[in-house]
């Protein structure tokens, strides 16, 4: 007990506070274009910097290196290589899949950046960095990054 404070005879009183809020996230014109292509055409689009020529996927509006505005879209095959991954074996309410499942960062062919997504149709004990992957799209698509159901090993 700290000096000169009253003695607590029963239990310290600790008040509960509830803070629950819902938020929206604007994906902007650039994000909307990317998500619309996923939804309408099952296409994965990258965007290219006019100064350094790096291709970003998912796209952003300004190049992180040059602060140049980017507007040149590049259609990607969707195929790529796994650059890192983790297998999730615990459950939280915000998760997009029932565990166990794997998250991976996919280095897309024709792009300079990795893209995070879920790995599917794969033995969780046999995932290897460098393995080739391709996207599997959902039947019902709504303009979400989860319109790609997962990436599966490419034949």
């Amino acid at each position: 007990m700290a000096e000169n404070l009253p003695e607590i005879s029963s239990e310290p009183i600790v008040a509960g506070v509830t803070a629950h809020s819902n938020f929206l996230v604007s994906t902007g014109a650039t994000g909307t274009k990317f998500l619309s292509e996923l939804r309408d055409n099952k296409k994965i689009m990258g965007i290219k910097c006019p100064k350094c020529s790096k291709v970003y996927v998912p796209p952003r509006t300004h190049c992180p290196t040059c602060f140049a505005r980017m507007s040149e879209w590049v259609e990607l095959s969707g195929k790529g290589s796994l650059s890192s991954y983790t297998v999730v074996r615990y459950k939280e309410p915000y998760m997009p899949k029932e565990p166990p499942y794997a998250y991976g960062v996919i280095q897309m062919d024709g792009a300079d950046t990795g893209m995070a997504h879920i790995l599917g149709e794969v033995d969780l004990d046999k995932i290897k960095v460098g393995m080739r992957l391709e996207p599997v799209f959902k039947e019902q698509r709504e303009g979400s990054i989860l319109d790609i159901d997962y990436f599966k090993p490419s034949s």
Partner: protein, 385 residues
């Protein structure tokens, strides 16, 4: 010995209620692009960044990790800060402090709020900002300014009509400011018949929810003189805090603004503020707050500011050019709002405010940030050293 510092560039977005066309980071980048263009600089010239918003109202945590890449500023020195409504003021003061060390040449301050994404989260702000004793009785800014305004009216003789006059003045200023959000063409009758939120506060009296961003660049003297021939000197700055609303034992109409101004006026030997300061951008979260703030900054005697409105003495080209931009009741991207005040004050000093430029030479301008239930940040700008 601290360096003398000057603002060399400013930028802001055209403030709107909704900006679904941009992400938060893209919206900030828009203000930063305008700021860099105004200064004639590029991102590669910036060597320190200071940024932030009122994070609780945004629903984000550590957003700098995805804002910095959008700004092309990966690898640069940077700080992210927040302090509810005064966030922009705290960001500005931190930027001034950093520039005044002389350790960095070109400090970029960026600020934002994208309230179209907050979906009502701000409603809890009044409770969440307070300790247990007041947090159990959460007062939003609406109820708090109702309480303050009622006390003010009770003491001063100010009526609902006078408060409506303040709102109309703010709107008339905003109509001349293309960056302002609410530009409505209001009449006193319209304001007085608007939806009542908590007497005497009507919807039109409260600051709106805004999506917007504002930025500025501040440099030490030597660098500032190289960058621009129109530096705006930051003469002094001060931050001042106050306890939660219901635990305040003092005058319910007052804030820390009077004390903060007294400190700065004494340091700069300002004896007659209404003569020595020619432009005011003072953060008023609700229209009637402007009355008390005018008294607290030293423009007029206690409980008399409403008479200046009755006599039609307040406006861009009138005796008291108070909040020529239209103020916070026209535009309120919370985390950026004090930076908007600073940007507008700097434009007034430069003579670049456009249609809402105050006529005559502006030697000094005072901008403030307000937050919580009484915190104030003072930013005093000067044309000549």
């Amino acid at each position: 010995m601290a360096e003398r510092i000057a603002i060399v560039g400013v930028g802001q977005t055209h403030h709107k209620s909704k900006r679904p066309d941009v992400t938060t980071a893209e919206m900030i980048a828009e203000s930063v692009e305008r700021c860099l263009e105004d200064a004639g600089l590029q991102m590669k010239d910036v060597d320190h960044l200071v940024g932030g918003s009122f994070e609780v109202a945004d629903g984000y945590h550590c957003p700098d990790k995805w804002i910095i890449p959008e700004l092309g500023a990966v690898g640069k020195a940077g700080l992210e800060l927040q302090n509810v409504g005064t966030t922009g003021g705290v960001l500005a003061v931190a930027s001034f402090n950093i520039a005044a060390t002389g350790l960095f040449d070109t400090v970029l301050c960026y600020s934002w709020q994208k309230m179209d994404e907050a979906a009502g989260a701000f409603g809890r702000g009044g409770g969440g900002a307070n300790e247990y004793w007041t947090g159990q009785f959460p007062m939003s800014p609406i109820t708090n300014f109702a309480r303050r305004t009622y006390a003010y009216m009770d003491r001063s003789g100010c009526t609902e009509e006078h408060i409506a006059m303040v709102r109309v003045k703010q709107d008339q200023c905003a109509l001349k400011n293309p960056y302002a959000q609410l530009r409505l063409g209001l009449t006193v009758e319209q304001v007085m018949s608007d939806v009542l939120l908590a007497w005497p506060i009507r919807r039109l009296h409260m600051c709106p929810t805004t999506a917007g961003a504002a930025a500025f660049i501040v440099c030490p003297e030597e660098r500032a003189k190289k960058v621009t021939d129109k530096p705006v000197w930051v003469e002094d700055w001060f931050t001042c805090h106050q306890g939660g609303a219901l635990t305040m034992a003092e005058d319910p109409t007052s804030s820390t603004l009077r004390h903060a101004c007294e400190v700065v006026y004494k340091r700069q030997n300002i004896k007659n503020p209404v003569k020595e300061i020619q432009a005011w951008e003072v953060y008023e979260p609700a229209s009637p707050a402007e009355l008390r703030w005018m008294e607290e900054v030293g423009i007029c005697e206690d409980y008399t500011a409403w008479k200046l409105f009755e006599q039609d003495k307040v406006g861009i080209d009138k005796e008291v050019p108070f909040n020529p931009s239209g103020g916070v009741t026209a535009t309120n991207p919370i985390g950026a709002t004090p930076v908007v005040r600073l940007v507008e004050a700097a434009l007034q000093v430069r003579g670049d405010a456009g249609e809402h430029q105050i006529p005559g030479k502006i030697e000094r301008a005072l901008a403030t940030g307000y937050g919580g239930q009484g915190e104030n940040v003072i930013m005093l700008l000067r044309k000549t050293l």
